[in-house]
């Protein structure tokens, strides 16, 4: 909004206050988690004395919890797997989703709307049911126990395609037509015209997609379980599941690895 439409100061103050209070509620649990990760086990579970900061001075705080969490969950290996999976899946899935989103948004296809709705419907079955058969499928394909299981099923997603379509729809048709008149093929249009236009959208949701549990939409819970079940040996499981496998043995280390 341009400067001319600056609202009066009470409204501005009210908006600031509202947003800041909301942000504070977002921060409190995270702050608690950070502080718990630095407490001793006894302090963490103690419900009588609820303290925001761990007892003692900064040097007394249990920084060692992070090391212990790392060791307990073999987070070194696990983070390496996470990284590989995350990079590969992010790059490829964004590319595929953008391609398909572009097609659904701007290109002619027979039965486009029906296919699109059918694709949306695959997002609607609760993941527990779908997951059972997906696991069987991956077993049959021999993906279990390898990183393939964590990569291949996520190379494209209905959610991502939907998102890309909605973003690309706002690109003006006139721009695309001008490109076509200049002789660009559809793929060149995609690469040179559409992708740069939606770059902020891509970057912003590329980030959540990056880490397996931090993936968006219905993939989120299924990836967690996916990692847990499919990454059966420790050298193919991924970071976010590590802490889970421990169980809440100690509040401190668990919170520490969650913070990480």
């Amino acid at each position: 909004m341009s400067a001319w439409s600056k609202p009066s100061w009470p409204i501005r103050a009210a908006v600031h206050a509202f947003v800041y209070i909301l942000a504070a509620t977002m921060l409190v649990p995270f702050a608690w988690m950070c502080s718990t990760s630095l407490k001793t086990d006894a302090e963490a579970i103690d419900v009588q004395q609820v303290a925001l900061l761990p007892a003692g001075s900064v040097s007394d705080w249990k920084w060692g919890n992070y090391l212990e969490a790392w060791r307990l969950a073999e987070l070194g290996d696990v983070y390496l797997n996470s990284l590989i999976v995350a990079v590969v899946v992010t790059v490829l899935s964004v590319l595929h989703n953008a391609l398909a989103g572009f097609a659904f948004a701007k290109l002619r296809m027979t039965a486009k709307r029906s296919v699109f709705i059918a694709m949306l419907m695959t997002m609607m079955l609760p993941y527990q049911v779908y997951f059972l058969f997906a696991y069987v499928l991956c077993g049959w394909l021999g993906y279990v126990d390898h990183l393939h299981a964590l990569i291949v099923p996520f190379l494209a997603s209905a959610f991502g395609i939907f998102y890309m379509r909605q973003s690309i729809i706002t690109v003006s048709d006139g721009l695309l037509d001008a490109g076509r008149v200049d002789g660009l093929t559809n793929f060149e249009l995609f690469w040179h015209v559409v992708l740069p236009s939606i770059r902020p959208a891509v970057v912003r949701t590329g980030t959540p997609v990056r880490t397996p549990t931090r993936s968006v939409g219905r993939l989120r819970p299924s990836r967690c379980r996916w990692c847990a079940i499919l990454g059966l040996c420790s050298n193919s499981s991924s970071a976010p599941v590590g802490p889970r496998n421990n169980g809440p043995r100690a509040g401190g280390p668990t919170a520490a690895s969650s913070t990480g």
């Binding site: 341009s2 649990p29 912003r204």
Partner: protein, 297 residues
């Protein structure tokens, strides 16, 4: 879409759709098929036709409770998420707003933290006896407002449902705000300027220009929020410990319990029920927001 081009759209979607067809559509179809069988996970499933559906409709009171709770959950969370996310995004885009980057990061934070951690944290905060919330309320003597204290924020009461709605919105707000920020950044500034020349104030600039301009994204946020709300599971399971309570059970937790009790066919039936409800609501939303499927000009 007016000038024809040689490459068909199908070449673009072939591979992504193939991945989705194999790894998502196929298991989905298998899952729906499972609802017509009875399977305990061991030997072969037995075909029993619509027996599962009959049992679900006639003999399962818990299903009615979870259905009601799920619908309340959806109705309560989706509109709030959409409106609040849009308002926040607009506020964060305003030139006069102080602290944009910091607030944006903080609001996004709950979304990236593992949901298990979030569930546990809120359980602690909402504990009736030693939780932060109740202690805070007591310290400002607000506990006298409630009939029976301490209020079971997570127990078997409508409060619990409201609490979980709040945490659900709290978590997903950050992501929706980011989506709207991306969509808002694509609105050409000339639109605002033209309106300014015509004498519009900032309120009108928001609702007459920005809101219609981001309608494609609104459709996306509405549909995905609905899907997430109707399929909520992790949050409820962690915060209530999976208890079979009439006021906190949602369809997905009911499903999971049946799954864990090895009644896989029946669990699939509940899954199909969720699918049908979600599909009906989504199609209704697509119709209602029709026109935002095309470009907003």
């Amino acid at each position: 879409m007016s000038v024809r081009s040689s490459t068909s759209g199908w070449a673009f979607v072939a591979f992504p759709l193939a991945v989705i067809a194999v790894f998502t559509a196929l298991p989905t179809v298998a899952g729906v098929a499972l609802s017509f069988f009875e399977w305990t996970g061991g030997d072969r499933p037995d075909f029993i036709g619509i027996e599962n559906y009959r049992a679900a409709i006639l003999h399962d009171p818990q299903l009615i409770h979870s259905l009601r709770n799920t619908i309340i959950f959806g109705v309560a969370t989706v509109p709030i998420t959409v409106i609040l996310a849009f308002v926040l995004a607009v506020a964060l885009k305003a030139e006069w707003f102080v602290g944009k980057t910091a607030v944006r990061t903080i609001i996004f934070l709950p979304f990236v933290i593992s949901i298990v951690a979030i569930g546990f944290v809120w359980r602690w905060v909402l504990d009736p006896h030693s939780g932060l919330l109740n202690m805070g309320l007591e310290s400002i003597a607000a506990d006298r407002m409630f009939a029976d204290w301490p209020v079971p924020w997570l127990g078997d009461s409508p409060w619990a449902l409201g609490t979980m709605c709040f945490v659900h919105v709290w978590r997903n707000l950050g992501f929706c705000v980011v989506l709207y920020l991306a969509a808002l950044s694509r609105v050409p500034r000339s639109l605002y300027d033209a309106a300014g020349v015509d004498g519009a104030g900032s309120w009108q600039a928001t609702w007459r220009i920005a809101w219609p301009a981001v309608r494609p994204m609104t459709l996306f946020v509405v549909i995905t929020s609905s899907i997430w709300s109707l399929q909520v599971f992790d949050l409820v399971w962690v915060m209530t410990g999976g208890a079979e309570q009439p006021w906190t059970d949602v369809l997905n937790t009911h499903l999971y319990r049946e799954f864990a009790a090895n009644r896989l066919g029946y669990a699939a039936t509940i899954g199909v029920l969720v699918l049908i409800i979600t599909a009906v609501i989504t199609v209704a939303q697509l119709r209602w927001l029709r026109g935002s499927a095309e470009a907003a000009s």
